[in-house]
């Protein structure tokens, strides 16, 4: 188990390292930084001075290591546009995205797992077909279309919930539905397939033969084992959701890090973009690492890898 964890840790760290190189490259591909920092009216001499002052005349590997050192201490430099430290900008907006992601994940699990279990228990019936069609349809609806549709129906016509912003908890309802929607098909399919597999096992037959009620067999004996892969998927989906929240935050004008990254990209403010890419990738890498370890703890067969 320890060897497995160490191996996975090495992979996770090297992936994180590669991602940091990509994030660093992103900033340096965005144009001559000295010109960007000095501003459009700066004279060539001023640009050279900025270049020297910011250490942009050093070799790239040195600049990379310097940047990585600071990034490891959560110092991502200053935003070109906001003239503020990137770390302050991100920590100010992170809670919105985290809250959004957490609610969206909870919503999608609450809908998808029971639906998947029902579909498996009533396999081949109308319930199963309905759940599967719901999945196919769900995957075809783009997040931003769903978001706009929710706004038109629930915010504009019915006036139940706010159109945009993050002022109250009600503001999070529609964005979470729009964001969580996307994860439902994957989670539902996995819980349905996991359930089908578990239900065909011998110990389930034994439990049934003992005369346990069908509800007890499904909820107590089967669900416990069927849910294991869902836990790992949920971790991965949470990572995807933080990345995908950029679209939802744009639709609902929520000022989370997705919105921040979108503004930053439009304004060529790449220190911010770079930091958001790095942080989101870091969260994703951590979550998948933890999911792998938890999975291996629960299921020793996984440890062979």
């Amino acid at each position: 188990m320890l060897a497995f964890t160490l191996r996975r840790l090495v992979v996770a760290l090297s992936v994180a390292f590669t991602v940091s190189v990509i994030a660093f490259a992103l900033l340096h591909l965005s144009g001559d930084l000295a010109i960007t920092i000095a501003g459009p009216e700066a004279s060539p001499a001023q640009v050279e001075e900025v270049r020297h002052q910011y250490g942009l005349d050093r070799p790239l590997p040195i600049q990379y290591l310097d940047w990585l050192w600071h990034a490891a201490h959560l110092d991502f430099g200053n935003s070109f546009f906001f003239r503020e430290s990137v770390t302050a900008l991100i920590s100010e907006r992170m809670p919105v995205t985290m809250r959004l992601g957490a609610i969206a994940l909870t919503l999608s699990l609450v809908v998808a797992v029971p639906l998947g279990v029902l579909a498996a228990v009533y396999r081949g019936t109308a319930i199963d077909r309905l759940a599967l069609s719901f999945c196919v349809l769900g995957q075809a609806i783009p997040t931003f279309c769903l978001g706009l549709a929710l706004i038109i129906v629930f915010a504009v016509n019915l006036r139940w919930l706010p159109v945009s912003g993050t002022a109250t908890w009600q503001s999070y309802v529609l964005p979470s539905v729009a964001l969580g929607w996307y994860a439902i098909p994957a989670v539902m399919r996995l819980s349905r397939n996991g359930m089908l597999e578990v239900l065909s096992q011998d110990y389930i037959r034994t439990a049934r033969a003992k005369g346990l009620s069908p509800t007890k067999v499904v909820l107590k004996h089967a669900l416990r084992n069927a849910i294991i892969p869902v836990v790992a998927l949920a971790a991965v989906q949470f990572g995807f959701m933080l990345g995908g929240s950029i679209v939802v935050e744009a639709v609902f004008s929520m000022h989370g890090i997705g919105h921040l990254a979108w503004e930053a990209i439009s304004r060529n403010d790449f220190p911010v973009v770079q930091a958001v890419v790095l942080i989101l990738a870091g969260i994703y890498i951590t979550l998948t690492f933890l999911a792998d370890v938890v999975n291996a703890l629960l299921d020793p067969r996984m440890r062979v890898a």
Partner: protein
């Protein structure tokens, strides 16, 4: 699916199908008997035909502005006219004509992206599956790294870097969306790499490129086509999202995502401005997904749930 993959890879490969060749006749009979596949194929064929024949079927020039006829509602509205069946947009351009030309953009982006990403992903997956060992470790690491990158964010940033345009979006998506191709072709290649016919080909002295091209590729074609279909839908959705966020296809091109974005400010009073392109998008993606799911059922019945 091997038990040894990290959850990230597993999550990306939920839809993978094992390879299996079926005779043309069984394939046709199976396809005709599969309702979802037929419905998807008919809708998709209709959209492709309309897109190809756009200059013939579009009632107006999609770029011709007429500021005197702005935001005319569709014909089912009391204020609609038969001259503009789906109404006009904020610049008085005929909405039906723009919708028809927009289908060309979505289909072009979907197919070219899949060509690029499919080539990259298949090359990676086949090499990893065929050679195994170190090669597999390095290539799987590459896939893990790609999965750690938040795709919408990196696509947005890269599109901004290469310059937002139709070609830019295609290149960016093509270079980003190869992960599932790699995961699926890797698993499929691993399954057949130990087959007798591969051993026989090696024994009679076939070169590696020849084995890959004439023995492996034809035998992983089925899952490859299924992934290509589903990834095409993915690319179309991502393009729409990028264009919606203003960093994809640029005006005056009639991309559906861009039409939704341009209509966003009018959606409270004229919801049809966003509803029409959104419905078109859902129909196209739904049709492609139905074809993909259907092809998987027909070509790999043992994988059906």
């Amino acid at each position: 699916m091997s038990e040894t993959l990290p959850s990230a890879l597993k999550a990306a490969s939920l839809d993978q199908a094992p390879p299996r060749r079926s005779a043309l006749s069984t394939f046709l009979v199976g396809s005709l008997g599969h309702g979802g596949l037929m419905a998807g194929a008919i809708v998709l064929a209709a959209i492709v035909l309309i897109a190809l024949a756009a200059p013939l079927v579009a009632p107006h020039d999609p770029y011709a502005q007429n500021l005197a006829r702005r935001l005319i509602p569709p014909v089912w509205d009391a204020r609609g006219t038969w001259d503009h069946i789906l109404g006009t947009d904020k610049l008085g351009r005929d909405y039906l004509s723009r919708l028809i030309y927009g289908a060309r953009i979505s289909l072009l982006i979907g197919s070219v992206t899949v060509l690029i990403s499919g080539t990259i992903g298949t090359a990676i997956g086949v090499c990893a599956g065929y050679f195994g060992g170190r090669v597999d470790a390095v290539l799987s690491y590459l896939v893990t790294t790609r999965l750690a990158l938040p795709v919408v964010l990196v696509a947005l940033a890269s599109a901004a870097l290469v310059g937002s345009s139709l070609q830019g979006v295609i290149v960016v998506l093509g270079l980003l969306l190869w992960d599932r191709f790699a995961v699926v072709t890797r698993a499929a290649t691993q399954q057949i790499a130990g087959s007798d016919y591969i051993a026989a080909a090696k024994a009679i002295g076939c070169s590696t490129p020849r084995i890959v091209l004439t023995e492996i590729l034809p035998n992983i074609l089925n899952p490859l086509i299924v992934v290509a279909t589903l990834e095409m839908a993915h690319a179309i959705l991502l393009e729409a999202a990028l264009s919606f966020l203003g960093l994809g296809v640029q005006p005056p091109l009639p991309s559906w995502g861009l039409m939704i974005s341009e209509g966003k400010q009018y959606m409270f009073f004229s919801p049809w401005v966003i509803a029409i392109p959104a419905v078109a998008l859902v129909f196209l993606v739904l049709a492609i997904n139905l074809v993909g799911d259907g092809l998987r059922d027909v070509t790999a019945p043992e994988n059906r749930n």
